[in-house]
Symmetry: C2
Subunit: 377 residues, 2 copies
């Protein structure tokens, strides 16, 4: 057995698809003394986290809390609680995460009806309308609000409107949208939503805020079959997160991670949700201008771009060296940007301006570093 040392990570600027830069305030919160998961002080913290998440999600949903696992588990929680074997679900795929939702629906025994759109384009409202008309007994419509793999925003309000008109539930992936662009659960009629701590909230990865409408809760309560996951069974989780008076033990919550999430939500509420949305938009426009000067263009048409996730086309003459360029940014400039995924691998870079990282300082670093590395290539 060799001997091991404490891990001292090199500080980096995180401008990839997440995790995003975590502020000193949130890092400090993580290292406060661990207390018990049933301690009244911790229960008080849980109550504040629920209130702060309702604010961030723009909802009055009682059932709003963070799942003790990453965003992918949040997706699975929404699917396995709402979808029973044989349930038809219209699933929109315009990137990696729509595909993941389809996989989750199938594993839950549901029948996915796929609406396919090109990667880099939003979910087509017309195609969803057609699909819902073709499948009048669809139980739910699932789509990704902000596709982290492509940098595309889909029109969640319009999509939820279509589902509502037909009386079917909506499952919305808001992993990258929460805190970065307008997301209004109650106004839009979202029934189940999951997000992640490590994108525009700028807490470390590991927690997945979720929220369920009363309609969603009715569907869970009227299930004929048991939820296939014990860990993600909503009714069991609620005994801990929503117990009236006494909280019952379900699993042991990740105490220190909750300190970090709480701090990041306090920072968001101090800034104000609308102000955070505006800041993301302004920083995005600033980055766009700078990239244009470097001759770098966007994959996504302007009206569908996510300010927090800038997917840009790698100039043709640099595509062969794209991995090397990212590696040099990381090693020489301590700057992380993201690679393309799936069909977009090697063709795009993904530059995150998320939460705490949506700042002039980061943009200046990024533009300067990219210019230097590209010129030296």
């Amino acid at each position: 057995m060799p001997s091991f040392n404490s891990f001292m990570p090199t500080p980096k600027t995180l401008m990839g698809p997440g995790p995003s830069d975590v502020s000193e305030r949130v890092l400090a919160a993580l290292s406060r003394p661990t207390i018990g998961h049933l301690d009244p002080e911790f229960v008080g913290l849980m109550d504040e986290i629920k209130q702060l998440l309702r604010y961030a999600f723009r909802t009055e949903n009682q059932i709003t809390f963070p799942i003790s696992a990453p965003g992918s588990a949040g997706m699975e929680a929404c699917v396995v609680n709402l979808i029973e074997p044989g349930d038809k679900v219209v699933v929109c795929i315009n990137g990696v995460f729509g595909g993941r939702m389809k996989d989750n629906v199938e594993r839950a025994g549901g029948i996915p009806i796929i609406v396919d759109d090109e990667w880099g384009r939003p979910v087509s409202i017309e195609k969803v309308e057609e699909a819902l008309a073709r499948v009048p007994d669809a139980v739910a419509l699932g789509f990704v609000h902000a596709e982290t793999s492509t940098g595309v925003r889909s029109d969640a309000e319009a999509l939820c409107g279509l589902a509502k008109a037909q009386g079917c539930l909506t499952i919305v992936d808001a992993v990258t949208s929460l805190g970065g662009i307008p997301l209004k659960l109650d106004e839009w009629g979202v029934d189940a939503v999951y997000s992640g701590s490590q994108k525009c909230l700028s807490a470390p990865p590991g927690l997945s805020p979720v929220s369920f409408s009363n309609r969603a809760l009715e569907k869970v309560r009227s299930r004929k079959s048991i939820v296939q996951s014990w860990f993600l069974d909503l009714t069991l989780m609620l005994g801990y997160w929503d117990g009236a008076g006494e909280r019952s033990y379900h699993h042991t919550a990740p105490i220190n991670a909750m300190y970090g999430l709480h701090e990041s939500l306090v920072m968001l509420s101090d800034e104000g949700l609308e102000a955070a949305w505006s800041r993301h938009r302004e920083m995005h426009l600033l980055l766009e201008q700078g990239l244009a000067r470097l001759g770098i263009n966007y994959l996504v048409p302007a009206e569908h771009r996510l300010p927090q996730l800038n997917s840009v086309l790698i100039p043709a003459h640099l595509q062969n060296q794209e991995a090397e360029i990212r590696q040099r940014l990381l090693s020489e400039h301590k700057l992380e940007i993201g690679a393309g995924l799936g069909t977009l691998a090697g063709k795009i870079w993904r530059i995150g301006l998320m939460g705490h990282g949506a700042s002039r300082k980061n943009i200046e670093l990024c533009l300067g570093a990219m210019e230097e590395v590209i010129q030296g290539t």
Copy 2:
């Protein structure tokens, strides 16, 4: 929207069933700068965590890593990967967590064959032998090595020996045993094991170290059905944790929580595993002597006691005030001890001496505080 403040938890001494006291070293590690989950530095950390876990588990299993969620998810990961619909599993229940394993087996479509033992007693070797003889086609034997709900150690070596003789797999709950009492995967022939970060490793809750033998991996690879959980599908997780050369994206790992787990494992390897086992044993005997002086006796016969989880009978004249006593320990002495669960609620207290908290300082605090509060009751 009211305004919210940073959360400043009152430092507590954690002598309940977990989370256990987290050292300053581990707390400091948590707040180091977040880096990317595919960053080569982080991949290096993952490799060290795997090596350190193999040391702690006493195994050469290649597939040894922490799942990005609490111990309950680790249990579910073992069950949903190894058990297919129709598979028969002998499940031993002598406390809360055996019951949870049965629930998990049922949700995975498996058929649990229950071996029931009294809470506070170990799993009966004879009953398991009979059950295995009755069910020669059992695919697996599942049991809890260290029952956190009762403070009982079962004879994992003997139980694994029975399963091995019959050629069936073993699924072992080592949530509370890892780092606190001897646990020897390879020597005993454990096929699948899950633990938790927040017990004798003394990291914060939220991660579940697991390990799978080659036999277990063969069972996973020869499945006829797809694993019902996307998040916990072992073959998908391995693309990230065990990718040859390049790691593929599965979910975003909880970076800072991994820093904490790593630090706790470095501390364990610095102390030495055997030394840690001895320390738990010595501290347990010291606590036992002190409790005897207070007239407090153990639920579990001496030979089956867990040193790290002391379940003690609440004296009859104090049972009515047991919740008040725990509350006063917490508020006046900043000391957390655990309540009984299930049928043992109101009858026992659970006093943890886990990891960093298995110390003379904690024992003195506990005995002094209990004496004071009980005399004042």
